[in-house]
Amino acid sequence: MSLLRFDGVKKQFMGRTVLADISFAVEPGELVGLIGPNGAGKTTMLNIMTGYLPLDGGAVYFQDRRIDNLKPFQISRLGIRRTFQLSKNFPRLSVLDNCLVASEAAGVPRDVALQRAEEILADLTLLRLADRPAAELSGGQQKLLEFASCFMTDPQLVCLDEPFSAVHPDIKRIIFEYIQKRNAGGTTFLVIDHDVAIMRELCRRLVASSAGRIIADGPTQEVLQNPKVVDAYLVSEV
């Protein structure tokens, strides 16, 4: 049983096809990268699978349960956590409270949640900022905080939308290593990013999309050498 499955997903915006026929699956424990040029529909896929956009055809399944008819909070409670391209935190809440929102919504006991928040914030170098309002954090720290919130509830699938874009190399390294650590512990990841070097190092499998279609899906190196991928995306990247 796949953890996540896109089955012939279609999406149009104002009559323009954004996703033509998207089908792929993510297996438990995988670390999958989703790559493609701007406008390929990567974020649209993420928005559909997390309930932020309705689809126009096809279906999305999580553990064989259809989820494209659920609301975002219901999908989140199934164990699918996500980040956004532009970090979404709660600026007037403290860093610690930002983390606690997810655990409280999932009914994690406060003691367990506090212990977990301490560990995650320490790993992500945010512990000393725990009592600061999120609004006082830098852009990179905002990204780390949103990323940290994903792990407050032992997620089954974490979807990251451009986690490495516009952040300091040190923060890239922190996020990179934390993804590896959690993936080694069994957490499944679906990562969207344009940093090919990082994606090559991080992901064992890549799914490449272009113009709303999957053009390649397989081991990272194979996909990066696929002529279709090179033509559509990597000409200026490799």
């Binding site: 997390t50 309930g51 932020y52 609301k71 975002p72 909070f73 989140s76 409670r77 956590r81 996500r82 956004f84 979404k88 935190n89 709660f90 600026p91 007037r92 809440l93 403290s94 860093v95 610690l96 409270d97 606690l100 929102v101 997810a102 409280e104 919504a105 999932a106 406060r110 003691d111 506090l114 928040a117 301490e118 914030l121 512990l127 000393r128 900022l129 725990a130 009592d131 600061r132 309002p133 949103e146 919130s149 509830t153």
Partner: protein
């Protein structure tokens, strides 16, 4: 502003406690019945300002309908007494219920709206309530209003303490709500609804709940007030009344706990005191409001908080302090 850091006490925040302690001795200092009446009205507005601040300041739903819910509370008790002889002891709780349930309904309707759309919907709602009441002559006697009895023959000082008790009650409820997980969700959806949903918060549910709670509080204010002025009139629910409540909360300090209390007393007392200067008092009053908003954008209490704020301790690890504030 990191609001939850203020919620470190067990029962009520220190600033509100101090304000209530001062308020409790005011009748000993203010002997004139007129000024005692002014203080009662300030407490009435205080309840509504606290209720509106919960909805707008902490939950981010900028409505303009607190007066409509006060009107519902007032007329529920008024109509039940006028037509059926029901005691205010029954009518006021029923008014709270009616206002609360109507608030839930308005919250449900507004759930997909944001910003000015919520405000406009609430204005439309206020006008609907006001028009229905004004035109239901056989039940409400329209603009003539309904004469209702006082509250068990209370004196003005007696009313003062009843209103003060009600204000303390709603402030404690707001404080405890904001300390709870519901408070965390409410403030999260104020900051970013999409982010809250992505963390598993049922935005629809909590938005609706906070509408209901805030409206019920306004219903309580209206239910008490109608038995203080002894007349249920559509004038209780005008847009100007809502505007006054909003002004009080904003001038006092929106999204702070003590701000609405300070704003209600400041605006009501200043407004009455300025009457002494004659016809120009509204002009001076308006100028005062503009100046206070201009120079204290965080409100009067926000300004005090800024002045009192201790230098930040960049210490390692502040999570201990944060844990203490969050509570067990």
């Amino acid at each position: 502003m990191n609001t939850r850091r203020k919620f470190s006490g067990r029962f009520l925040d220190p600033a509100s406690t101090a304000i209530f302690a001062v308020a409790a001795v005011l009748p000993l200092l203010v002997q004139q019945p007129y000024w005692q009446g002014v203080l009662v009205v300030a407490l009435y507005y205080g309840i509504m300002a606290v209720a509106w601040n919960l909805l707008a300041g902490f939950a981010g739903q900028f409505t303009l309908s607190p007066a409509a819910f006060s009107l519902l509370g007032a007329y529920t008790s008024g109509v039940l007494n006028f037509h059926y002889g029901l005691s205010p002891a029954v009518g006021i709780p029923l008014g709270v219920l009616v206002a609360g349930l109507t608030g839930l309904l308005l919250g449900r309707i507004s759930v997909r709206m944001r910003g000015p759309y919520v405000s406009l919907t609430s204005v439309a709602f206020l006008h609907i309530v006001s028009i229905v009441i004004s035109n239901s002559y056989s039940i409400t006697r329209g603009d003539l209003g309904l004469q209702v009895p006082d509250l068990f023959g209370l004196s003005r000082v007696g009313y003062f303490y009843v209103f003060l008790a009600a204000l303390v009650l709603v402030q404690v409820l707001v404080y405890q709500l904001l300390r709870s997980r519901a408070g965390l969700f409410i403030q999260a959806l104020r900051d970013d609804e999409l982010a809250a949903a992505s963390r598993g918060v049922d935005v629809t549910r909590w938005k609706t709940v906070v509408f209901g709670i805030s409206s019920a509080m306004c219903g309580l204010a209206g239910g008490l007030y109608v038995h203080f002025i002894r007349l249920a009139s559509p004038e209780i629910g005008t847009i100007l009344q809502s505007g006054l409540v909003v002004t009080m909360a904003v001038v006092g300090g929106m999204a702070t706990l003590a701000g609405p209390l300070i704003g209600a007393f400041f605006i009501q007392v200043a407004s009455e005191a300025l009457r002494a200067i004659g016809m120009q008092h509204m002009l001076v009053f308006a100028l005062l409001v503009i100046l206070s908003v201009r120079f204290f954008p965080g409100g009067l209490w926000g300004f005090v908080e800024d002045m009192l704020r201790k230098p930040r301790v960049p210490a390692e690890p502040t999570v201990a302090a944060a844990r203490e504030r969050v509570g067990p």
